[in-house]
Symmetry: C2
Subunit: 248 residues, 2 copies
DNA sequence: GAGTGGTCTAGACCACTTC
DNA sequence: AAGTGGTCTAGACCACTCT
């Protein structure tokens, strides 16, 4: 563990355990640096992470103040879209939730111009097109339609799609997932959606469209994930000064 | 403008203008530091902001790579909830959109325990309760129900609620808005929602619940903002390593 | 004026990837 | 082995708030 991670965790624990209370001021940078035997820059680095997470606010000339408690990881299977990114299966299962996957279709198609543009590949390059339904605690909850270029994810088989594609990519291929851009909107279920999710036609669905990147900057996935809206919840923080946001 | 802001903007422009192309590698830290006559730490600081915005990926041992272009600020009045935070009126109006506000009610009530807990105040402390409909291009688009403690926002009048509360807070009171936590979910319109937004009952609405903080760490607003779902869109980035997210 | 956080540096040293 | 980014420092100097 790095020094700044240590400071970060320790201060965060301090907030969680009410050693630092909401509304109170933290010790100043010099003092913390002395307490942790590190430089002030390292303290700043650690506290900036807490700012990004929405737990504290720092004000030049005034001090550092506790805004709120860290919230417990609430895997109320709402944020399935997000934990999907983090490796759905593992996260949800350790949370004691039963997740299963139903593979609807697994094809290889040439990318049309729109898809090629999303994936930053040439038109007509071959991509996997995978459609799956995720079932959480015996309730169909999301429909995932995923597109990945064959060239970047070679050797993917049906069997992987029936389990976790992400563990194939990270575990077997040894690639690292770096980041994603997500866009949320709401659409109404068509007949196929309704059938797959066992809901009435026209029910609202939250559609998460995501482009996912590897750590070499290359796109490897474009996906549309439709969530039953009642089991969807998404929380984020917005910090004004640095245009940064943290996710719980 | 600080040095890191300068480097940040210049590299970002370089990406926007295809001087650095998608998939390509940026010059290394030492080189950039020399080019900009600054230290490598300053370059890192600037590039980390671009990482948080989802534009580049940095990989230790390998280099820094361009992921995608900065997206143009698309004020498709979808992200009204977000620009609300940034000072809705100003932003939308400079974007050439006509925004008006209809004040539905303006009361002062004692906070119940749940509200008091959200606002970090004592139960029964007095709060403003303000209900407004936002009308964009002559179309009612959101219903905002806002609660603010009188003690922290003294002197608020109906007239401010009919315009921009945020400019009262920042302009007149001289307070600074620091950050917010947002939570998104979907609900169906009840009779009152339907009437106010001129839509059928049971239409889906996106509900944004937000707690907003001042730069001294104190909560000053809790709000529920209901959006007509068809005009709602929300985009964000997720970066794995540092648990940071940027918003476009 | 005293105290706070923010910027910036020049350089040491380390971790990792790539060849 | 060469080249990349990441961590960390000790300190200078600046900007701001508070009272």
């Amino acid at each position: 563990m790095t020094k700044y991670e240590h400071v970060y965790h320790d201060v965060k624990d301090g907030i969680k355990q009410h050693r630092y209370k909401i509304g109170e001021q933290l010790p100043d940078g010099k003092t913390l640096a002395a307490n942790y035997s590190c430089s002030e820059m390292t303290v700043k680095r650690a506290l900036d992470m807490l700012v990004d997470e929405g737990l504290i606010a720092r004000k030049r000339g005034a001090g550092t103040f506790v805004k709120r408690l860290p919230r417990e990881m609430n895997f109320s299977h709402g944020s399935a879209s997000f934990s999907h990114l983090l490796g759905t299966a593992a996260n949800l299962e350790t949370a004691g939730v039963k997740l299963t996957t139903k593979l609807i279709s697994f094809e290889v198609i040439p990318a049309d111009t729109s898809l090629a543009s999303s994936l930053n590949i040439e038109s007509d390059e071959l991509v996997y097109k995978i459609k799956r339904v995720r079932i959480i605690d015996n309730k169909p909850t999301t429909i995932e339609e995923t597109f990945m270029p064959i060239s970047r994810i070679p050797g993917l088989k049906k069997q992987h799609a029936e389990q976790s594609i992400y563990s194939y990519i990270e575990g077997i291929l040894g690639l690292k997932i770096h980041s994603a851009t997500l866009s949320l909107s709401v659409r109404k279920a068509d007949h196929e959606d309704a059938k797959l999710l066992a809901i009435p036609v026209q029910e609202p669905l939250v559609v998460v469209s995501q482009v996912v990147y590897l750590d070499n900057g290359k796109t490897f996935e474009f996906a549309n994930i439709k969530h039953i809206s009642e089991s969807f919840n998404f929380t984020t923080h917005y910090v004004r000064e640095n245009r940064k946001v943290g996710v719980v």
